[in-house]
Each structure stands twice: as structure tokens, then as C-alpha cells.
């Protein structure tokens, strides 16, 4: 009886743990390097304390033609923070996995104008994200499709 009880509990525990881990794995599919449709940047999404953050890891034009120095966040509403480098900048912040293939509660920052938008990420397939930036309610928004990037497969 003791043994039965023990194996039952073990099974319950294992399945419970693997259930959580499976959910975690589902949420972690967001992790990776992605390219927005404009192709001007590549964004790496990573996980910090259960939430997802995306930073710019590559810029098509890394140098600001005006200053001839690496681009900085010159449109930041907070003047003091305008010297923050754009490469490395976290433009996606605080995303939580809420539902099937959807990450919400986050924001997206547009370095072009210094605006931060509410944002919802929907994974339409393994390699495609529908990123919707919006104002208050998502009707007044704009969607962008991001594609997953990978290290080139070696060709002979």
C-alpha cells in the first residue's frame, strides 16, 4: 500500500512537473532572433525573470550619418537617456505568455519617433510572429510580421 501510494504520488508529481515544463517550453518558442518586415534591424528575444524581452542585435545602418558615430536613442522622451546605444536596446519589453501562441502585457518601442506602444505578439507559425502595436485598444494599431532567423545551414 505504501509502495502504491508512493508510485502514485511520484507519477502525479512527474506529470505535474512535465506539464509546467511543457507550458514553459511553449512560451519559450518566442526566444530567438527575429527580423521585422522593414528589414532594418534584427531583434533577439530572450527571457528574464519569466518575461520576454527583445533587444536590437543588428542594424542595417549601425552608424548615424549625422554624427558618424554608432546610433543612439536620440528620440527618447527622457533627454538624459538619449545617449543609450540603439544596438543592444530593448525595444520589446515585459511580455508574458498568456494564451495559446500569444504573448501579451508587453510594449514595443519605436526608436524612429521615441513612442512606446502596447503590444501583443501572436505566433502564427513556428517561424512567424504577428506583432501588433496599438494605442489603448488594439483596433487602432498596426501589425507587423516578423520572421525567425537562423544560422545558415552549411552548404557544400
Amino acid at each position: 500500500m505504501k509502495n502504491m501510494m508512493r508510485s502514485f504520488l511520484t507519477v502525479v508529481l512527474i506529470s505535474f512537473t512535465s506539464l509546467i515544463m511543457a507550458q514553459d517550453g511553449e512560451a519559450d518558442r518566442l526566444v530567438g532572433v527575429w527580423e521585422p518586415s522593414h528589414g532594418k534591424a534584427k531583434v533577439k528575444i530572450e527571457k528574464i525573470n519569466d518575461k520576454y524581452y527583445g533587444k536590437i542585435v543588428w542594424l542595417r545602418e549601425p552608424i548615424d550619418p549625422e554624427t558618424e558615430k554608432p546610433k543612439v536613442d536620440k528620440n527618447n522622451p527622457d533627454e538624459k537617456m538619449r545617449s543609450t546605444p540603439l544596438r543592444g536596446y530593448r525595444i520589446l519589453k515585459d511580455f508574458e505568455y498568456t494564451d495559446k501562441d500569444t504573448w501579451t502585457e508587453g510594449t514595443i518601442y519605436d526608436p524612429e519617433n521615441g513612442n512606446t506602444y502596447n503590444c501583443t505578439i501572436k505566433m502564427t507559425d513556428e517561424n512567424t510572429l504577428d506583432i501588433r502595436g496599438y494605442i489603448g485598444i488594439s483596433t487602432f494599431g498596426r501589425s507587423d510580421v516578423w520572421k525567425r532567423l537562423k544560422i545558415p545551414s552549411r552548404k557544400k
Partner: protein, 359 residues
């Protein structure tokens, strides 16, 4: 039981270890050069020219505004038994509401739908003494425009795109309680093929069917949007509809100098104005060229204000007889006579709007 507890405990430890691992940022950070040569995970994924041009003023999703023109003279021609008449208009003003909201927004196509309502009220100096039917209906009813529109942006590849705009609706002296017959509806169309060589430049050429010059016209369209390298200067043009030189104080505040060409064919439905047959199928071919300064700035978040001040030049205020709403094309060479050839002098105007802009 002890063993049970210890198994439970070690399982918990294992799971917390796993979670502990995922809870922290990966410290295996990047060597940036590795991002240079990444390729799409999906083979066959294409990049498309984005509709956005760096530094350009934001698109307006919803706009609520007020337009006001100062005093000017109206010289209306004789019509039927009614004599010609010169009248002083003290002001022309009205409420303007426009929306243009994306319905489909994908990398390879953007479809927007819009609704427009413009109201124009004419204030005359001696309203009770007006006899000319054109003046009478303007004084009594003013003019209204209701339009639906759709804009389709279709990128073909990384640098080329097509742009279509379709708008249709009714313009006239009807009231909102009693709209005019839909057979008087007018539609305009534009099709543009364009290139976007870089993020700061977009140009295109096309053809349009338009009422901007008042009467029906088929004219070429030139699209040109450009921003300087330092993001301070720019050009925003959809010729002949509008053209602007832009100065950006910053991405949230900009000054423009340029023009708008506004026009439509307004049916006179004779509301409260007795006109003898066959002169009740009249349309005002109204077109205004507005040279103006425009200032736009972010008020808060996505709410922007826009103020225009300038000079309104009357391009056309003639009246055509359009039997049964079946419009005709006069073009530059047609010899169809106008039912009325009217003259307006040119006042200053201002326009103020509050807008919800697109992210």
C-alpha cells in the same frame, strides 16, 4: 513515508533547478558579427518594401477638425430667369471628420478603410435679399460631403510597390436628415506604381480619375516622399492633391509649407430653392487651391494636433448641368458650356484638427 518525502523533495529540487535556469538571462551573449549572416528560418520568405518613410508625419487614423474661411465676394452668373448677383460672404466654415483605419495589415498587403464627412456652411452678409438660386441654396443648405474610401498598398518586393485608392460618396446641398439619391454619387480612383530605394525615400507615378479640380478629370499622379539624412527636412507630395516641404523640429513636432487641392462635384438638389425644370440637375464644380503653412505636433501619446493657416485660391466654382446624374468628361478640350460661370474672390483660411495617429 520518509522515502516518499525525500523523492518529493528531490523532484521539487530538480524542477526548481530547471526553472532557476530559465529564470535568468542567458549569459551566453552574442558576438554581433554572427547576426550579419543569418538567414530566414523559413525558406522562400521574402522581404517587402515597408509603407513607412522615415521622418514622415504620422498617418491620421481619426481626425476631427474645423475649417474656416474669411470674407470674400461671390459673383454668381444668371441662371434661367434669375439674374446674376454679387454677394458678400462673411465666412465659410464647417466641421470635418475623417477616419482611415487599417483593416488588413500584413507585410505583403495593407488595406485601409476610411469614412469622411465634411460640412460647409456659407454665411452671407444680407442673407434675406439673396435671389440667385446658387446663393440661396448655399445660404439655406450649405454643402455636405460623405465619402467612403479604401487604400490598398501592395509591395511587390523589397523596393517596388503598387498603391491604389478608391473613394466614392455623395456631395451636395442635401441635409443629413434627407440624403440625396445615390445616382448622384461620384467616385475617384488612383493607381500608382512606385519605388522605395531606401527608408528615407519613396516615389511613384500613376493615373487618377479625380474630382479635385471640381469636374471629372483623368490626370497623372506623382507621389514623392523624402527625408534628409539628418531627418530635419523632407518633402511629402501626392501631386496634384497636395505637396509639402517639411521641417522636423523633432519627430513629434513639424512645420510644413505647401498646398492642398480640394474639390468635388456638389449636386444642387433644390432643397427649399425653387428652380424651374430643366435646371434642377445642377452640380457645382468646386475646387480650391490652398497655399498654407501647417504645423503638426504630438499633444500626448497618440493624439496630435494640426493647424493650417493660408490663402484659399478659388480654382473653380462653376456650375454644370448633369442630366440625371450622368456625368461627362470635359477635359481640357471639351466644349460643353457651363450652366453658370461664377467668380469668387480669395480669402485667408485656417483649419484646426485633433487627430489620433497611427503607431
Amino acid at each position: 513515508m520518509k522515502r516518499l518525502l525525500s523523492i518529493t523533495f528531490s523532484l521539487l529540487m530538480v524542477s526548481s533547478y530547471v526553472f532557476g535556469q530559465t529564470d535568468t538571462t542567458s549569459t551566453e551573449e552574442e558576438d554581433y558579427s554572427i547576426y550579419d549572416n543569418l538567414e530566414f528560418a523559413d525558406e522562400g520568405t521574402k522581404r517587402f518594401a515597408s509603407v513607412k518613410v522615415s521622418g514622415k508625419s504620422p498617418d491620421k487614423l481619426i481626425s476631427v477638425g474645423y475649417d474656416w474661411q474669411g470674407a470674400y465676394d461671390s459673383d454668381a452668373a444668371a441662371l434661367g430667369l434669375s439674374p446674376a448677383e454679387n454677394a458678400d460672404i462673411t465666412a465659410t466654415h464647417g466641421f470635418r471628420f475623417e477616419t482611415n483605419v487599417p483593416v488588413i495589415s500584413k507585410n505583403n498587403i495593407i488595406i485601409q478603410a476610411g469614412l469622411l464627412y465634411w460640412n460647409t456652411i456659407y454665411e452671407f452678409e444680407n442673407e434675406n435679399q439673396l435671389v440667385n438660386p446658387l446663393h440661396r441654396t448655399l445660404a439655406d443648405n450649405g454643402l455636405n460631403t460623405i465619402e467612403l474610401s479604401s487604400t490598398i498598398y501592395k509591395p511587390l518586393n523589397e523596393t517596388s510597390f503598387l498603391l491604389f485608392q478608391l473613394r466614392g460618396g455623395m456631395s451636395g446641398d442635401y441635409s443629413m436628415e434627407e440624403l440625396q439619391n445615390t445616382k448622384y454619387n461620384r467616385y475617384a480612383l488612383a493607381a500608382i506604381w512606385g519605388k522605395k530605394p531606401n527608408d528615407r525615400k519613396q516615389w511613384g507615378l500613376g493615373l487618377s480619375r479625380t474630382y479635385r479640380a471640381g469636374e471629372l478629370n483623368y490626370i497623372p499622379v506623382v507621389l514623392y516622399n523624402w527625408t534628409s539624412v539628418d531627418r530635419k527636412w523632407g518633402v511629402e507630395t501626392v501631386f496634384p492633391a497636395r505637396g509639402d516641404v517639411r521641417y522636423n523640429f523633432n519627430p513629434r513636432s513639424m512645420l510644413f509649407f505647401g498646398f492642398d487641392l480640394e474639390g468635388n462635384s456638389y449636386r444642387i438638389g433644390n432643397q427649399g430653392t425653387a428652380l424651374a425644370e430643366p435646371l434642377n440637375d445642377l452640380e457645382i464644380r468646386r475646387s480650391e487651391l490652398r497655399f498654407r503653412f501647417r504645423y503638426e505636433r504630438q499633444l500626448t501619446g497618440f493624439i496630435w494636433i494640426s493647424a493650417k493657416v493660408g490663402y484659399r485660391y478659388n480654382y473653380s466654382f462653376n456650375v454644370d448641368q448633369v442630366a440625371d446624374g450622368e456625368d461627362f468628361f470635359r477635359g481640357f478640350f471639351g466644349d460643353q458650356e457651363y450652366a453658370m460661370e461664377n467668380e469668387l474672390t480669395n480669402p485667408l483660411f485656417f483649419n484646426f484638427s485633433i487627430n489620433l495617429v497611427s503607431p
